[in-house]
């Protein structure tokens, strides 16, 4: 019966790799997500943008299954991450790479061992093959010469590139980049931007990029989500956002100080706060 | 640090720890005393064995030749029956050897001291030492001494 099979195949290809529906998440009384829907299609580079503290890092952790939503569902490759535990969750995570905002390199090993770490933990490859793979990843991020340095001897930007090499060590189906560009000089920034795009296309990856760097992000992202105050406030391709009449999109893309995006963490009115201080004194 | 030097250090550490345990067992404790060679048993009856313990030494002429194996109470005779374990090498103790309970130093531990008699025939395994002298109990001695003292004063 070739017909149904064909049908199923198409459907599978069409379903997004990550499918988030009605996501609710709060830290104590501080609501971070209040009903977010996000689809990340296979093979694309999707950017998540938004002001500092809106919960972009939190979103990546929810996708990775490190946090559990209060409500709603998160599916990765058809599997409900929010309900997975133990072995199944770890099996899924082997197919996800994540670049942490501050690198999160293991400080008791050098650069080489850091990148070899996931390979050694999850494969039984001979050391010679591991060496080849590690050097390949290091070459890709331009740090092959730094392989004997300890993490404490790296600059912030270098550490993040090492972390990137580590995130792709296991050739995952999806890589999540938490602010990959911060702290990079213009040259390595350009290299990284191209690297993310090339990796994505050459290895048939799916990439999620969290970033504040509008120019670079727009250059590589196929689709952009703008988050603010627990909601998706705008979405679309780079051009669609450019042309959209959403005040959110305009303010964020052009970095205008005035607009709907709040610069301040939620607080009582400024004057009130000052007066309250006076009363207390 | 290379993993080789690290492993060597850990090896040194573990070896030192085991050596220390070995020293505690062999040189500090009485493990050596547990490993008695071939021996034979004789018994002795006492009216009072206070302070004597299992594994207390048995000496002759000040040399340790065995140890106390068991201390029991005989309901019939209302006496203490002490089983002594004596080294097989010393199997020519005369039959009329006597046993006394002594104290090492004024407050030290009790031990069984044997004194040789003059008979030709020697003690055989399972024999009983007939001549015994009891443990000296300090309180009793003092009580006796005071009683005597008072008696002397007021005849």
């Amino acid at each position: 019966m070739p017909q149904p099979f064909c049908h199923a195949f198409v459907i599978m290809n069409e379903t997004p790799l990550v499918r988030i529906r009605d996501l609710h998440y709060a830290r104590g009384s501080h609501v971070i997500f209040a009903g977010v829907d996000i689809d990340i299609r296979r093979g694309t580079v999707t950017a998540i943008m938004g002001p500092s503290g809106t919960g972009k890092t939190t979103l990546l952790r929810l996708i990775g299954g490190q946090l559990r939503p209060d409500r709603g569902s998160i599916e990765v490759d058809g599997q409900p991450v929010h309900r997975l535990r133990g072995k199944a969750l770890y099996a899924l995570r082997k197919r996800m790479g994540m670049l942490f905002q501050n690198g999160a390199l293991l400080t008791d090993m050098d650069v080489y061992d850091n990148i070899a770490f996931p390979l050694r933990e999850h494969t039984a490859l001979p050391e010679s093959l591991i060496r080849t793979l590690v050097l390949m990843k290091l070459e890709a991020v331009g740090l092959r010469g730094a392989r004997h340095l300890m993490p404490s001897q790296l600059s912030g930007g270098m550490a993040r590139r090492v972390a990137l090499a580590r995130a792709i060590a296991l050739d995952p189906m999806m890589v999540m980049y938490d602010e990959p560009f911060t702290g990079q000089d213009p040259i390595s920034m350009g290299v990284l931007v191209r690297l993310i795009r090339t990796l994505n296309d050459a290895l048939d990856l799916t990439s999620v990029v969290v970033s504040h760097d509008i120019k670079e992000t727009r250059a590589i992202a196929d689709y952009i989500y703008l988050l603010s105050e627990g909601k998706v406030v705008a979405q679309g391709t780079s051009e669609e956002l450019e042309q959209s009449d959403s005040a959110w999109a305009r303010q964020f893309l052009h970095g205008e100080p005035d607009g709907p995006v709040p610069f301040h963490y939620p607080a009582p009115a400024y004057a009130e706060d000052l007066l309250a201080g006076e009363e207390a004194a | 640090m290379t993993s080789r030097t690290l492993e060597i250090w850990v090896g040194i550490f573990v070896a030192a720890g085991l050596a220390a345990l070995f020293m505690l067992a062999m040189k500090v404790s009485n493990l050596a005393a547990y490993q008695t060679g071939p021996s034979y048993e004789v018994t002795a009856r006492f009216e009072d064995v206070s302070g004597l313990k299992v594994r207390s030494p048995v000496t002759m002429a000040g040399v340790r030749i065995g140890r106390v194996k068991r201390i029991e109470f005989d309901d019939e005779a209302l006496q203490a029956v002490v089983t002594l374990e004596i080294d097989k090498r010393h199997n020519r103790l005369p039959r009329d050897t006597s046993a006394s309970i002594y104290t090492a130093g004024l407050l030290g531990e009790k031990y069984v001291g044997l004194e040789a008699g003059g008979e030709e025939e020697s003690l055989k395994p399972g024999d009983r030492i007939r001549l015994t002298q009891d443990s000296m109990v300090l309180e009793k001695l003092i009580a006796q001494f005071i009683a005597k003292f008072i008696e002397d004063k007021n005849p």
């Binding site: 952790r61 990775g64 490190q66 770890y90 099996a91 995570r93 082997k94 996800m96 994540m98 942490f100 501050n102 999160a104 390199l105 293991l106 400080t107 770490f117 996931p118 933990e121 999850h122 972390a163 580590r166 296991l170 | 993993s3 690290l6 492993e7 250090w9 850990v10 040194i12 550490f13 573990v14 030192a16 720890g17 085991l18 050596a19 220390a20 345990l21 020293m23 505690l24 067992a25 040189k27 500090v28 404790s29 009485n30 493990l31 050596a32 005393a33 547990y34 030494p57 130093g105 004024l106 407050l107 030290g108 531990e109």
Partner: protein, 259 residues
């Protein structure tokens, strides 16, 4: 009044929650121990930082404690003309009490605090999170080898402490104060029992090692992931370990020698 009661309740609640988390963590760690025997190199690395690096302080302290025991013991015993028993006094104090207890206290200060700080910082710098995202369970990969290493190292360290202490006491008593060499060792051997004294001391040190390592690892893993949180956790490790060791010592002593 009600406010005070409420605070008291909160404190108690917090205490029992932490206790519960500590026990759950211990179970998870223990589940991670058997697979370690297939990857013993992980444990060897930790034996280095927990054991080898504590060796110097243990050797020096053991030697001096033994020497002090020799001096004090001699001064007391010589009044009774019983200085021959010096070996007994030194050896019994060391193998029954001072060996396990002082080693455990030093171990908490040297190795325990280092464990807490290391694990706490790994948490604060998201290294543990990163491992989780690489599908590596930090409890099995990071905590279990450290626990096993502490568990194995502590009895060895305590034995080294006692052995060196006995030699220190010998040095002072026999070497400096003129106690008879033969009497020092033979009296010791006559009075120190392999099971009652040595083995019970080893049991104590095993219990202390497991408890101190457990506290240190839990405090690190449960630390607030900031520099301040880690420094508080490190302090707590030392304080709680010391209290636990002294309290348990009383209980164990009563169980072992209190018949």
């Amino acid at each position: 009044m009600t406010e005070a009661l409420r605070q008291l309740g909160l404190v108690g609640l917090g205490f029992f929650q932490r206790l519960g988390r500590a026990h759950l963590l211990l179970l998870a760690i223990l589940a991670g121990v058997p697979p370690l025997f297939l990857r013993f190199s992980l444990v060897v690395r930790q034996l280095y930082s927990v054991g080898v690096l504590s060796l110097l302080i243990i050797l020096v302290s053991g030697l001096f404690v033994g020497m002090v025991l020799g001096l004090q013991g001699y001064n007391t015993l010589v009044d009774f003309g019983a200085e021959e028993s010096l070996g007994v006094v030194v050896a019994l104090s060391l193998v029954r009490e001072l060996g396990p207890v002082v080693t455990a206290l030093l171990f908490a200060g040297r190795a325990g605090s280092a464990l807490t700080a290391e694990i706490g910082l790994m948490k604060a710098t998201e290294q543990l999170s990163a491992m989780e995202m690489m599908a590596v369970d930090p409890i099995r990969r990071v905590l279990a080898p450290r626990f096993l290493a502490g568990f194995l190292a502590m009895p060895l360290l305590a034995a080294i402490f006692s052995a060196v202490g006995v030699i220190g006491g010998w040095f002072v008593g026999v070497g400096l104060l003129g106690v008879d060499d033969g009497a020092y060792w033979s009296q010791m051997q006559a009075k120190v029992d392999l099971y009652d004294d040595i083995w019970n001391g080893v049991v104590k040190s095993i219990v202390f090692g497991a408890v101190v390592t457990w506290i240190a690892i839990f405090e690190g893993y449960d630390a607030v992931p900031t520099s301040e949180g880690v420094s508080r956790a490190t302090t707590r490790t030392v304080v709680h370990s010391a209290l636990a060791v002294l309290g348990l010592d009383f209980v164990l002593t009563a169980l072992m020698f209190g018949d």
